[in-house]
């Protein structure tokens, strides 16, 4: 059974040359007949199936539609045409710390953010120590989040988002937060989830990371899928694209 099924999805944005977001301008422009939009397709006829247990990578240059596709799968964006079906509970790690309130303490934010992810209060109670342990920030628990560094915020956010055993984990460039020790820890946690049967959909600019984690990859180019399949094939082809970039990735990989 496919756990994620994206069928023929197109996502259109109306890009107004000047953004009209108030009544006054709307009526003036309408009267003058200058209310024009430029259509822009961030995704065009994209189909993608992910099987249970897959670790699926998305690669592509900036602006190729990777993040848009993730947001469609996560339900944040509703596709203009086509359908995206996910069978199971999603944990979105699209941007860490969405839903944090900087005026509240870390303790309060753990509950708030858990609720944003649809978790029950009793469940967070039972997992509270685990979250705190993972983020290594016990001594700062009752400090308002605005006094935290961005790395500390990311730690808390990652700890909350991965405390559940979601069916699908959607990750957008999240493994680039925090210091290298914490990055390792995050990757370790991701691997635990994967071995526990969680399906992962991941966007990363680090080819080396994709190769290490994923078993399948799709390469997006200008909103279309240029190639998809097993990780070796697609990554080889993608690296051919730009010799300089490939060399750089290689060098980073050896470090």
């Amino acid at each position: 059974m496919n756990i994620i099924e994206v069928r023929d999805v197109s996502m259109r944005f109306n890009m107004a040359k000047e953004r009209v977001d108030n009544l006054k301008e709307f009526f003036i422009k309408k009267a003058k007949g200058t209310l024009k939009f430029e259509e822009f397709y961030a995704l065009k006829n994209v189909s993608l199936t992910v099987e249970r247990g897959d670790v699926y990578g998305l690669v592509g240059l900036n602006g190729s539609g990777k993040s848009t596709l993730l947001k469609v799968v996560a339900g944040v964006l509703k596709p203009t045409t086509g359908t995206a079906v996910v069978r199971g509970v999603i944990a979105p790690l699209i941007e860490l710390g969405a839903g944090f309130d900087m005026d509240l303490t870390a303790r309060e934010n753990i509950y708030l953010n858990g609720a944003v992810l649809g978790l029950e209060t009793a469940f967070i109670d039972s997992k509270f120590d685990e979250i705190v342990e993972f983020s290594e920030l016990r001594e700062f628990l009752d400090v308002p989040l605005k006094n935290y560094s961005s790395g500390m915020v990311a730690r808390i956010a990652f700890a909350i988002a991965t405390v559940t055993k979601p069916d699908v984990l959607i990750a957008d460039e999240i493994l680039s937060v925090g210091d290298f020790l914490f990055q390792k820890k995050c990757e370790q946690r991701m691997k635990e989830l994967m071995s526990g049967g969680t399906t992962v959909l991941i966007v990363s600019h680090s080819i080396e990371q994709i190769e290490r984690l994923c078993n399948k990859v799709a390469w997006l180019d200008h909103g279309r899928i240029k190639m998809d399949g097993p990780v070796e094939q697609v990554c080889e082809a993608y690296k051919e694209l730009d010799p300089d970039a490939a060399a750089e990735q290689e060098a980073r990989g050896k470090k």
Partner: protein
Amino acid sequence: MQKMKPYFKDFWRYRHLLNNLISRDIKVKYRRSALGLIWSVLNPLLMMLVMYVVFSQIFHMTQLNRGDVEVNFAVYLLTGQLMYNFFSEATQTAMSSVLGSAPLIKKVYIPKYIFPLEKVAFSFVNALFSLIALVIVMIFTRTAVHVTVLLFWVPMVILFLFNFGVGLILASATVFFRDIMHLYGVLVAALMYLTPIMYDVSILPAWALKFIPFNPMYWFVSMFRDFVIYGQMPGINAWIGTCASALTSLAAGLLLFKKTQDRFVLYI
């Protein structure tokens, strides 16, 4: 009905979020103020005091008579104010709730009506605190208490539904047209003077009286006063006025919100 089922399921899953958002608002509002929660009682009390001094000293109003019932002006004022403040606070905060939650909406899937609903619920909690202020004033002025006072919550609950409907309409309209915020502020101020909060309808000129039945807030305020001050059952007109406006606004709000919510993320 079958089509509505996913909505209820969604709501059940995110009920903790609603709780958490409300308690966040309360914490953020009163954090770092020495008196804390007492402010939510003190604030309406002080506001009422200001208006009371203005109207009793400058306009010489201390008592309102309705038939042979004498009504203390402070109690009259506070009942009207409590209901109107609930309306204006709930709708105005609900209006900007979707825009204000832009960072969240852009990153996580959450049923979006949660945001206006939360603001209306938070205002409801505030109104309950103001109720304590009302009780204090009623005790202080030795206002007679009738058994109907136990039904004080009826108009408040109907007003909750009315506010939610209006809030949904405003929240989705504001996403597309930001200047509605400024227009609505003026509207709320104008409507306040059209609602008998600090005066009795009997002082209005005949032409203005004709408009009164079309103001939903008139019906909410008078139903509340019937229960709390006059100790009588509201007339059939008041029931129709409140229930019809609540149902209409709720239906219109839910429909408009459902139709536009998928496009929110593109405009915020």
